[in-house]
């Protein structure tokens, strides 16, 4: 075969290059999110909220808009108004310091805010 050496070196370099993000360098630091001042505990445990808040918000919007149900009962038995603007954002008072930080890190861009109004937009 011709040029075996060159081809192999090229391949190794190429594979190394495209897998660089997996082995080389450091992962970008996990973003530090602004915690609510008043509340210590979110309506559900943090781990659940971190993993499931998108499904939860999706369920909420269906419940509120399509089923006319507006109260959510959390696992601790407390009831909450199912509302992004009137429940979530009353504690997480900054979209920039909370939602955006993590969404940017995770590379996702949900389109909640084309209609829903974040708390600080008007100030």
């Amino acid at each position: 075969m011709y040029n075996t050496g060159k081809v192999l070196t090229g391949l190794v370099l190429f594979v190394g290059f495209i897998t660089y993000p997996f082995w080389g360098g450091e992962a970008s630091p996990v973003p530090k999110l602004q915690k609510p001042e008043k509340e210590k505990q979110c309506i559900e445990p943090v781990a659940f909220m971190r993993a499931q808040h998108m499904q939860m918000l999706d369920d909420w919007r269906n419940d509120v808009v399509r089923q006319a149900t507006r109260k959510y009962t959390a696992v601790d038995g407390k009831q909450h108004n199912m509302s992004l603007q009137n429940t979530c954002m009353k504690c997480h008072t900054s979209k920039k310091e909370f939602c955006d930080k993590c969404h940017t890190y995770a590379g996702v861009s949900p389109f909640c805010w084309t209609c829903h109004v974040p708390p600080k937009e008007t100030t």
Binding site: R61, V65, T114, C115
Partner: protein, 264 residues
């Protein structure tokens, strides 16, 4: 196996007949193929409400205050351009509100009167039947004709379907207008805005009604110009009033069965 012309035509003819009568006609029948045929609407739950409203134009009211209450609460942008304006509740003259019932010899009072108009929350809403995504639907528990903005694709079938012009399309980014509201208006942070490319209309204040409150426009009246209530409940205030007052509805002939009643 060889098949001669005659046999071929026989088989072909037979399949055509079967196709047309059996399976073929089945497909043409209204049913699964329709996006939202009436049969697909959830039947009203037993004991369901049908919210309705009495608009008593003989009362002295600050009607403008009702409009402002609604539009401020729901972040309805103020757009001067008639072609692009967004309205949930507004005023219009008799001949626009009750076309066909006007006469050449109408009283001066009637000619000058500006009638309050909003979505009729029809019992048989045309807008719901034509919406291909069910973004517009009728709540089975209380008859409110609701809009799910998350689902609206902006096709505007509902605008063509509604015989009352109760719907507005967002031609431009409404958020900008809502945020730079004119005349010192402030955006209501407790309610969303809409986005460009969706249709919107009055929701009978579903968010307030669900909490047991009256719609904002009704709350803004001082002299009983607007009365909100359950049309299915014979003991409700609105039904008592309808029993003693002479009322008319908008375009009853189109068969949408509106839930807004007018004392003209």
């Amino acid at each position: 196996m060889a098949i001669d012309r005659r046999d071929f035509l026989k088989v072909a003819g037979l399949t055509t007949v079967i196709g047309l009568t059996g399976g073929g006609l089945e497909l043409l029948r209204p049913g699964d193929l329709d996006a939202s045929a009436p049969g697909h609407e959830p039947a009203a739950a037993p004991g369901a409400k049908q919210w309705g409203m009495l608009v008593d134009m003989s009362r002295k009211e600050n009607w403008q205050a009702c409009i402002e209450a609604c539009h401020n609460l729901h972040n309805v942008p103020s757009i001067d351009d008639k072609k692009e304006e967004i309205k949930w509740i507004w005023q219009a003259p008799f001949q626009e509100v009750f076309p066909g019932s006007e006469s050449a010899y109408m009283s001066d009072v009637m000619k000058a009167r500006q009638f309050m108009v909003l979505c009729n929350h029809c019992a048989e809403p045309a807008c719901v039947r034509v919406c291909p995504t069910k973004a517009t639907f009728k709540r089975p528990e209380d008859g409110i004709v609701m809009m799910d903005m998350h689902r609206c694709i902006g096709c505007r079938f509902c605008m063509a379907g509604c015989p009352y012009g109760a719907r507005s399309f967002n031609w431009r980014e409404p958020r900008l207008d809502a945020l730079t509201l004119k005349g010192g208006r402030k955006i209501n942070l407790e309610y969303p805005t809409r986005e460009r490319g969706v249709v919107e209309k009055c929701t009978f204040c579903a968010e307030r009604v669900d909490e047991g409150k009256q719609p904002a426009c009704v709350e803004a009246t001082r002299n009983g110009g607007l009365v909100f209530g359950d049309l299915n409940d014979p003991h409700s205030e609105i039904r008592q009033l309808l029993r003693v007052k002479s009322t008319i509805r908008r375009k009853p002939e189109v068969g949408t069965n509106p839930s807004i009643f007018y004392v003209v």
